[in-house]
């Protein structure tokens, strides 16, 4: 999805540039809004005109402290519905890395909460203070949205506009403002890194 990986004429997310299909895994603790984050990416991608398959951990799988939501984005109809090794892995918690990190391949770009990564061998992960930033935004629960903002800011897998629209449609009205702040904060963190 080459055209999705350019911004201001600059190629970003070069690992994805040659791929027709992008596999995104979002994982975290139960209650961190992993499912919502997956749905937001999927919904935004649809608005961008992409094909989407979204799957998630269920039942006993999702009850062992960790949950994941996988999203495949593609310019073409998606045949196989599982992502295998993710291209992008947004990880919000220690346990989620333990539970779902085994699928990481050399070309997987891992974006991980900085605090959660302590004591873990996360290789060349991009460490982002998602939880801390969310707390600063007044809603620690919005770490998922900070992470999503960062992910989109870094890679442009979906457009910022579509992501905002998806968030506005799915977030509870009372938490929309703090969620939007969290999204802006995540985007800003990504912009800092790119400079």
């Amino acid at each position: 999805m080459a055209e999705l990986n350019t911004r201001n004429g600059q190629v970003v997310g070069s690992a994805l540039a040659t791929r027709v299909q992008t596999g995104i895994r979002i994982a975290g603790r139960g209650g961190q809004g992993v499912m919502l984050a997956g749905l937001l990416v999927a919904q935004a991608a649809i608005d961008d005109g992409l094909e989407v398959v979204q799957t998630q951990s269920y039942g006993p799988e999702a009850r062992l402290g960790a949950a994941k939501s996988d999203v495949i984005l593609s310019h073409e109809p998606i045949a196989y519905p599982e992502i295998g090794a993710p291209d992008l892995f947004l990880c919000l918690s220690h346990d989620a890395f333990t539970a779902y990190g085994h699928d990481i391949a050399p070309n997987t770009r891992l974006i991980m909460d900085a605090r959660a990564a302590r004591g873990l061998d996360v290789g060349e992960a991009v460490l982002v203070p998602m939880v801390d930033t969310a707390r600063d935004c007044g809603a620690i629960i919005a770490a998922n949205i900070v992470g999503l903002g960062f992910l989109v800011g870094m890679t442009d897998v979906v457009s910022e506009r579509s992501l905002r629209r998806a968030l506005a449609a799915r977030a509870r009205p009372e938490s929309l403002e703090s969620n939007m702040r969290a999204l802006d904060a995540g985007l800003a963190l990504a912009a800092e890194r790119r400079l």
Partner: protein
């Protein structure tokens, strides 16, 4: 409009679009969301939703409702599907239109509740004791789940049969972007007059309470509904007639997707969720220059033996990929003539991956070519 929809949700939306006005069910993974959706969709539409005490009763209530003229369905998974067999047999014996959705998971028994399987193929056909007419459909995408749910209703209404829709745990829970299409709806045909109307053995259906009083029974019976439970050909006659109704329309009922079959030396046969991986494998093999093609079976019962046979016999090798240890492969083997038929299956809760299917295809074709070479 593009919508992000889960498989189970698409099933419920398809049911409502098909005119379903009665749902009875019992919670079970991975199908529970279908009943959750129906519990929200039916009441404002004046339809009936009821959560029953088990799967036996769910199917009983569905059949009772169908006999008042309602389009009725239930949804379940392996363990519940097994319990429903008693009443699926009753529905077949009494020519009762209804739809049973089975979100397949790994079995036998409780197995792996959240993991996909395709192990209920034979149960969908032969799960009830005795012989009967049967229709079982599959779906391989969220959009398919919507359209095949409607097809299931249409066929059950047209042929007066319980129709089974086989889904799986992955499809049940996955979401895709879909645009829901308009699909023509079939309604049960009623007899023109109730005078001398025979309630059984005809595609025309007269509900209870419509003025002709008769008995609906699971005992062998004749066209009028009189029990013929001891040494009578009436039961066989009606069963044969029901089977014949399906056979006569087999071409319309047996739906398939055929991809790159014209010049295919290697044919992949798959259905449901596995058909997606098989499609990816075909693309992979074609890119390598291997002439592979896909036959996706959207209807498993009645089995399209003639079509499968001619496709298989035109190929040099066939690979049947399915999430079980060998079910549809037995049917394909029976009609493939001298073409070697290989099976690629698993029941460990994982999907068959495109790479694995492509590899099996490469080997199958290679072996077939070698064998011909050796014979020369």
């Amino acid at each position: 409009m593009q919508q992000l929809i889960q498989g189970n949700e698409a099933c419920a939306l398809g049911a409502v679009a098909a005119g379903c006005s009665f749902f009875a069910g019992y919670p079970i993974t991975p199908s529970s969301e279908i009943m959750e959706w129906m519990s929200r969709l039916l009441p404002p539409r004046g339809g009936v939703f009821i959560q029953m005490e088990d799967e036996l009763s769910s199917m009983g209530a569905v059949i009772g409702a169908s006999w008042t003229g309602a389009k009725a369905m239930t949804a379940t998974s392996g363990p519940g599907f097994t319990l429903m067999q008693e009443h699926i047999g009753y529905a077949a014996m009494t020519e009762t239109p209804c739809v049973i959705v089975d979100g397949q998971r790994v079995g036998p028994s409780t197995g792996m509740p959240t993991s996909p399987a395709q192990g209920d193929v034979m149960q969908a056909r032969w799960g009830s004791h005795g012989d009967r007419a049967a229709i079982a459909l599959t779906a391989s995408s969220v959009l398919d789940t919507y359209t095949m749910t409607i097809e299931a209703f249409n066929m059950s209404e047209r042929y007066r049969l319980p129709v089974v829709l086989l889904l799986d745990a992955t499809l049940a829970h996955m979401r895709e972007n879909v645009i829901l299409p308009d699909i023509p709806i079939v309604n049960r045909s009623r007899p023109g007059s109730i005078d001398d109307f025979a309630p059984f053995g005809s595609p025309e259906f007269l509900p209870l309470g419509a003025g002709a009083r008769f008995t609906v029974s699971g005992l062998s019976h004749d066209e009028a509904g009189h029990q013929r439970a001891a040494k009578s050909d009436a039961g066989e006659r009606l069963t044969r007639r029901a089977i014949e109704r399906v056979a006569a329309d087999a071409e319309r009922i047996t739906l398939t997707r055929q991809e790159a079959l014209d010049d295919a030396e290697l044919v992949l046969v798959a259905y449901g969720i596995t058909a997606r991986a098989a499609r990816a494998a075909v693309h992979q093999l074609r890119a390598e220059g291997i002439p592979a093609g896909l036959l996706e079976l959207q209807t498993l019962w009645p089995f399209p033996a003639e079509l499968v046979g001619s496709v298989a016999r035109n190929a040099r090798a066939v690979v049947v990929a399915e999430l079980n240890l060998g079910q549809v492969v037995t049917l394909v083997s029976a009609v493939a003539g001298t073409t070697p038929v290989h099976h690629l299956g698993r029941m460990d809760g994982a999907l068959l991956e495109p790479d694995a299917i492509a590899a099996a295809g490469r080997t199958a074709l290679h072996d077939a070519v070698q064998e011909v070479g050796a014979a020369r």
